[in-house]
Amino acid sequence: MSEESPPTVEDGALVARAGAGDHLAFEELVRVYADRLHAVIRRLVDDPHEAEEVTQEAFLRAWRGIAMFNGDSQFFTWLYRIGVNEAYRRTSRRRVPQTSLDERRIEPADTRPGPLRHLEHDDLRHALERAVRRLPPDQRAPLVLRDIEGLRTTEAAAILGLDEAVFKSRLHRARLAVRDAVRDYLPEDPGQ
């Protein structure tokens, strides 16, 4: 998702109808947003089956609470918050395996020297995905919401229930960790 887009008339009408108890309207919201939310949850939860369960539970909670949705934010932002909270609730039950900085470094798939070291786009993407998955949950969510999903800092911090300063600190640590992990895949610093 790029920068936050304005709510659509269709969304507003569907949300209003769903809030009044119209299950067909809510079903339409599921059709519009379930895959998008699932894509975000998959980046936050390692196990695919658990990501599916989190997505399902998020929509159940949304249905139960949609009558209280006051429209202060976009529907999908509100849905994000429910989904991310559910993902946090589940992942926080488990201990995050600690890895050393060396272990976090993603080994490049191609060790050819010189310009060929900078691999094809898909290799970079896969290295990024792996590096993001190795982040601890408290750093992963800020990076996913801000740098991959493209939410504004204020919005992403609100979704995570974080003070903006705390959010920025976690985001910065996440960016440094991912940059270190995929350093060999990124173009060389022209200033060096």
């Binding site: 998702m1 108890g21 299950h23 809510f26 079903e27 599921v30 059709r31 379930a34 895959d35 998008r36 699932h38 894509a39 975000v40 998959r42 980046r43 695919p48 089956h49 599916e52 997505t55 399902q56 539970e57 929509f59 159940l60 249905w63 139960r64 786009h121 970079l124 993407r125 990024l128 995905e129 990076l143 740098d147 991959i148 999903e149 493209g150 800092t153 920025k168 600190s169 985001l171 910065h172 960016r175 440094l176 991912v178 940059r179 995929v182 350093r183 895949y185 990124l186 173009p187 610093d189 022209p190 200033g191 060096q192």
Partner: protein
């Protein structure tokens, strides 16, 4: 550094930071590296089809809602199903 990346520095602070980055042997490479990283992260597709290799989750969500009746009973009449 984060505010610089987000473009939220005031003009005055931006100018001071730019001067610092030009002179600092640590911050310059760090900033350029993080800018490159941000570009790379933004290139990761966020569309659902690319991120959900198992296909749409919509049927599973609808059936989950049906199988977990709340006081509002959103969607009656479907049997629960798990994908895959």
């Amino acid at each position: 550094m984060p505010d610089s990346l987000d473009g939220t520095l005031t003009p005055r602070r931006r100018a001071r930071f730019a001067q610092h980055v030009d002179e600092c042997p640590e911050c310059g490479p760090m900033l350029r590296g993080l800018i490159g990283l941000r570009v790379a992260l933004r290139s990761i597709p966020t569309d659902a089809a690319d991120s959900n290799p198992d296909g749409s989750i919509v049927p599973a969500v609808l059936e989950y809602l049906c199988a977990h009746p709340s006081e509002r009973r959103p969607m009656a009449g479907r049997a629960p199903r798990r994908r895959g």
